[in-house]
């Protein structure tokens, strides 16, 4: 049985208080649903002396429309420019929200495919963005990791996947960020110093040690997704061993804007769960103008060429590589139906 270590539990009621606590205590971590942090603490991957609970903070809740300046507006307002999701919204709430389902069905699908119902009832959007990377040699008990001499990501010097690399290649394993990237979403990161806004695509870095630019004293406050012009189609595909509970072995998020004659005006494609950072497939702008069903193969070939899976999960990397074009095709064909 894996037990937790000793820590102090803080329960701030306001965002400002939470940010002050994170600033005050060097070894404090934030906890929302705790569905990622708790198992990792049991494995002694994190041993914070202070935990700052975000559950009671009203400012982090809610899903709704906002104007261009981020101020809430009614669902039928002509001034609505973006959908705003509080970092504390649970994955169940996001997957069931009528607005999300209608405007961004791929986001509702991705949130609804995270782990299992119990986990989605606890886990939050902010937590999903900050999900720790995963690797065969990392997500293990202290005893297991110690026996192997630890690894680059935690307590050790060597990467057991690449043997020589100085960069951690643990896999980004969250379902919603790839979708948010295809939707051009940004996030508000709050700290005691103020708030900075950055595109979700710039939130992640290609080093699995700590694969986001979030500083320890910063919190994801909310996620902002620009409302699309008509003609947006989206899809999310997830490969995993079982159809529930599991993290992705490979995930594909896609979004395309189609003009009335069904030509592709723009197409974005993100492949994830392979490396530390979700990969935005490049070169898709050359495919614009043709009908979506005619660019499926070319897009799948581009994705295949740009992805290089490693043996960071206990599944054959060549097989995961081979599945990239298969699932890109399935995602795009789903979007092309009825186009």
């Amino acid at each position: 049985m894996l037990r937790l270590h000793e820590y102090r539990y803080h329960r701030p009621a306001r965002l400002a208080d939470a940010l002050a606590l994170l600033r005050e205590h060097e070894d404090a971590l934030a906890i929302a649903g705790g569905t990622d942090l708790m198992p990792n603490m049991k494995h002694r991957l994190f041993t914070p002396r202070h935990l700052v609970a975000l559950k009671g903070i009203a400012e982090l809740r809610g899903i709704g429309l906002a104007d261009g300046a981020g101020n809430p507006v009614a669902d039928d307002s002509p001034h609505a420019r973006e959908l705003v999701i509080g970092a504390g919204a649970t994955l169940t709430e996001v997957s069931r929200n009528p607005l999300v389902r209608r405007v961004f069905p791929s986001l509702a699908a991705a949130a609804g495919k995270v782990a299992a119902p119990q986990i989605r009832n606890s886990g939050t959007m902010g937590g999903n963005l900050c999900l720790d990377t995963r690797c065969t040699y990392y997500n293990q008990s202290y005893f297991w990791r110690e026996a192997l001499g630890f690894c680059l990501k935690k307590d050790g010097e060597v990467c057991h996947v690449t043997k020589v690399g100085r960069k951690c290649v643990a896999a980004h394993s969250a379902d919603t960020p790839p979708v948010l990237m295809t939707l051009g979403a940004s996030i508000d990161l709050a700290s005691a110093n103020g708030t900075r806004t950055l595109p979700v695509a710039d939130f992640f870095i290609a080093d699995g040690k700590a694969n986001t630019v979030r500083r320890r004293d910063e919190l994801v406050h909310r996620i902002r997704i620009p409302l699309p012009a008509p003609g947006l189609r989206t899809a999310y595909r997830k490969v995993r061993q079982r159809n529930s509970v599991d993290y992705p072995l490979l995930s594909i998020a896609a979004a395309a804007r189609l003009t009335p004659g069904s030509g592709v005006e723009s197409l974005s494609l993100v492949v994830s769960a392979l490396g530390a950072k979700p990969r935005m497939v490049s070169g898709l702008d050359k495919l614009a103008g043709a009908p979506l069903h005619e660019v499926v193969d070319a897009a799948a070939a581009l994705a295949f060429k740009q992805c290089h899976p490693l043996e960071n999960l206990i599944v054959d990397p060549d097989w995961r590589h081979a599945m990239v074009p298969v699932y890109v095709r399935r995602a795009l064909e789903e979007m092309a139906v009825g186009a």
Binding site: M1, L2, L4, E6, Y7, Y9, R11, I31, G33, G34, T35, M38, P39, K42, L51, A53, K55, T92, A115, A116, P117, Q118, I119, N121, S122, N243, S244, V245
Partner: protein, 142 residues
């Protein structure tokens, strides 16, 4: 710390870092809630917090403050699902059963087979192959 346990006010003096699972089993003596994986993957330790199924091995006791917690004991032993699981062999070794039943209870009075399949997708069973569980739930709601 105060919370509502199976419909009655409860006050338990336990460390806030203790897992709700351990508080229920060790401090409250309610051993119906089982520990499976301890990592949030198997659903054996499922309890209802404010009506929603969650895995109690990932909930620090402090997060249950003022909340309404329902364990398998809260169903009183006579719930139609409890009888049906016994009758239709939905329970074999029994470790997953309390979590299965609570996750099913959270689906409301008459869930469809599809709702049961997705609603129980976070509860793993190594004995039944799931079909006996679905049959038990269906028989109790039909």
């Amino acid at each position: 710390m105060r919370f509502i346990l199976n419909g009655a006010p409860a006050e338990v003096d336990a460390h806030p870092m203790k897992r709700l699972l351990d508080v229920l089993r060790e401090d409250c003596g309610l051993t119906g809630t089982k520990e499976g994986c301890g990592e949030g993957e198997c659903g054996a330790c499922t309890v209802l917090i404010d009506g929603e199924p969650v895995v109690s091995c990932l909930v620090p006791f402090a997060q249950a403050r003022e909340a309404e917690v329902v364990t398998i004991e809260g169903l009183g032993g006579e719930h139609p699902y409890q009888r049906a699981f016994a009758e239709f062999s939905g329970a074999q070794c029994g470790i997953c059963t309390p979590g299965m039943i609570l996750a099913a209870v959270a689906l409301g009075p008459a869930p469809t087979l599809e709702e049961v399949r997705t609603g129980l997708a976070g509860n793993l069973c190594r004995c039944t192959g799931y079909e006996a569980i679905y049959r038990a739930i269906h028989s109790a709601t039909a």
